[in-house]
């Protein structure tokens, strides 16, 4: 547990007086060569890395027009400054989105603009050097790429894309983050982020079948590598491994069972997540995404459904088709891909699923919108479905639901504090500080409405909350998933 002066929790956060440099000591573990190389990156800093980094920036801004626009268009209006949870929780001015962007923009200005080339000092342009690199490494990994700042930027500048570009530049010259890059390496080696061997996944699923039958008397199946199944389910591997995640996975299984939909996991792609997004690496993101296609083809499925994982859904919803399409071999009557919440919502609307809400009567629930779902995707065929659908499922499965403050939910939601490659122990201080705005909104509804549990649809959010909640005197078990509620309330028919 980290030790810092605990801020007062407020329903909406108070903008702190700045404390320059207060987070400058924090840096993620650096990836060793054996972690860097399988991703196609140099093991350590290459010779002449300063020039290589500048060249890479040139390449990226040419390839991604958005990056060029974002670098050029900031007018320093300051609208973003108090929108970042990491700034609000740390008071370090370099965690203001505009200042985070400036870390990269100052180098861009030096090498790619006329005033920066001629009068660098006058325009705040900086040479690419070791000091700049270290500062990038520290502060670009204190961004969870949640895009809240972009919602409030009058020009729509997306700090997440700037952070991704900076991370890709650093990786390309040999400075990578251990956490994200090790996870991507595990996907290539084992098929999932956790590095679970196939036999361990199979053993876990068999054990779940046993548990659910014991608890409900119903044989709910949790199949692996079953050819000819209708649905391939892409869940985050945390759903196999961690709590409360696994209770949501049990919920997915019960939904498919009750609807009579055959489904399967794939050992080749036993992971919905795609950390290639976090490090801004198109190549790695594509390599991870292609497994989904391969698994779907190998198993001959008709539909692909994603489980409760925020960034997995962003990659799936926004990029899967361009990364790994076309998916013309799937059943055209269903969206490609589908979110598990869409599946459950649709079945619920058609009366296929019935719930006994009283099973969740011991709880008062609130919903945390996960950043990637809220700000980078949609769901179903209704506008704002990504907000409506999970809430409709919650309301159908429980009797006590209340919302947190409007300025902290839906499109304006605050990050859990650990998204985008920051869910690693050495970043615990910024993770805890970054959770302050969300914890404040939660504190308010626990005090006012007696909220006992906070539900989300993201593996990272669930893990982060379980971990940091005790610091704010909340019980770790307050964090749960939407399909955990579904699992509690669903009425199952006995059939073999």
């Amino acid at each position: 547990m980290v030790d810092f002066e605990k801020p007062e929790l407020r329903e909406t956060p108070v903008v702190p007086s700045i404390k320059p440099g207060v987070m400058s000591h924090l840096a993620s573990h650096v990836a060793k060569p054996k972690i860097q190389e399988p991703l196609g990156y140099p093991g350590e800093l290459v010779d002449n890395w300063e020039q290589a980094a500048v060249d890479k920036l040139g390449e990226l801004k040419g390839k991604y027009r958005s990056l060029q626009v974002f670098l050029d268009s900031c007018v320093f209006c300051g609208a973003c400054t108090d929108k970042c949870h990491y700034f609000l929780g740390s008071a370090d001015p370099k965690n203001m989105p505009v200042a985070r962007q400036e870390l990269l923009r100052s180098v861009y200005r030096r090498y790619y603009t006329l005033p920066g080339k001629w009068f660098p000092k006058l325009v705040g342009a900086r040479d690419m050097n070791r000091e700049v690199l270290d500062e990038w490494y520290s502060y670009f990994y204190q961004c969870s790429e949640c895009r809240r700042c972009a919602v409030f930027c009058p020009l729509g500048i997306d700090t997440a894309e700037i952070a991704m570009a900076a991370r890709e530049i650093m990786d390309s010259v040999g400075r990578g983050q251990k956490y994200s890059n090790e996870v991507i390496g595990k996907v290539f080696k084992f098929g999932n982020n956790l590095g679970l061997a196939v036999r361990a996944v199979a053993d876990t699923l068999a054990s779940l079948e046993e548990d659910v039958e014991e608890e409900t008397g119903v044989k709910v199946r949790f199949p692996l590598d079953e050819e000819g199944a209708e649905v391939l389910l892409m869940a985050p591997s945390a759903d196999f491994f961690a709590e409360p995640h696994v209770d949501g996975l049990i919920g997915y299984g019960k939904v498919f069972h009750q609807a009579g939909i055959s489904w399967t996991f794939s050992s080749h792609a036993a992971e919905g997540g795609n950390f290639g997004l976090f490090i801004g690496s198109y190549d790695n993101m594509r390599r991870v995404a292609v497994r989904v296609r391969e698994a779907a083809l190998d198993l001959g499925v008709k539909r692909i459904v994603f489980g409760e994982c925020g960034h997995a859904w962003r990659v799936a919803y926004s990029f899967l088709n361009t990364l790994a399409g076309p998916f013309d071999f799937l059943d055209p009557r269903y969206p490609v891909p589908q979110h598990i919440c869409e599946v459950t919502y649709d079945l619920m609307k058609r009366g296929v699923l019935k719930f006994d809400k009283s099973q969740n009567d011991h709880m008062v629930l609130t919903f945390h919108d996960s950043c990637n779902v809220a700000r980078a995707s949609g769901m179903g065929d209704l506008a704002d479905g990504q907000f409506t659908i999970p809430r409709e499922i919650i309301k159908a499965t429980c009797n006590h639901f209340v919302e947190m403050s409007p300025s902290t939910i839906r499109g304006a939601t605050f990050c859990c504090g650990a998204g985008g490659g920051t869910l690693t122990d050495e970043l615990m201080e910024i993770r805890t500080r970054g959770a302050v705005p969300r914890m404040g909104a939660l504190q308010h509804v626990t005090d006012k409405h007696g909220v006992t549990h906070m539900v989300s649809i993201c593996a990272i959010c669930k893990s982060q909350f379980s971990k940091i909640m005790p610091y704010f005197d909340f019980d770790a078990e307050m964090s749960m998933g939407v399909h955990q509620l579904v699992s509690n309330a669903i009425i199952l028919d006995k059939r073999d």
């Binding site: 956790l194 590095g195 361990a200 876990t204 945390a238 869910l423």
Partner: protein, 110 residues
Amino acid sequence: MSIEVSGKTLETDEDGYLADIGEWEPEVAQSMARTDGIELTEAHWVVLNILRDYYIEYQSAPAIRVLNKTIGKKVGKDKGNSKYVYGLFPEGPAVQACKYAGLPKPTGCV
């Protein structure tokens, strides 16, 4: 990074997990626990042995639910839950118990 155990220097990662599980011996767990101010009892060893047996068989740490279930079978159903494990290992099964048992750190969205 490294730790000194029984007169030998064992390499660890940045978080103090053994680099090579083959170098593990009971004294590794004892030494790590001492550093954390924990005295290992028989109850701790039940958990550590389950983790090691599982890892040797499956090349992965057991899922938390599977770990709890196995503990329940060994020492009584009332103990087969995370509260019991956290009571023994305050930092949790993945972070602390796996470390003492010589397993690599489970990382991902956990």
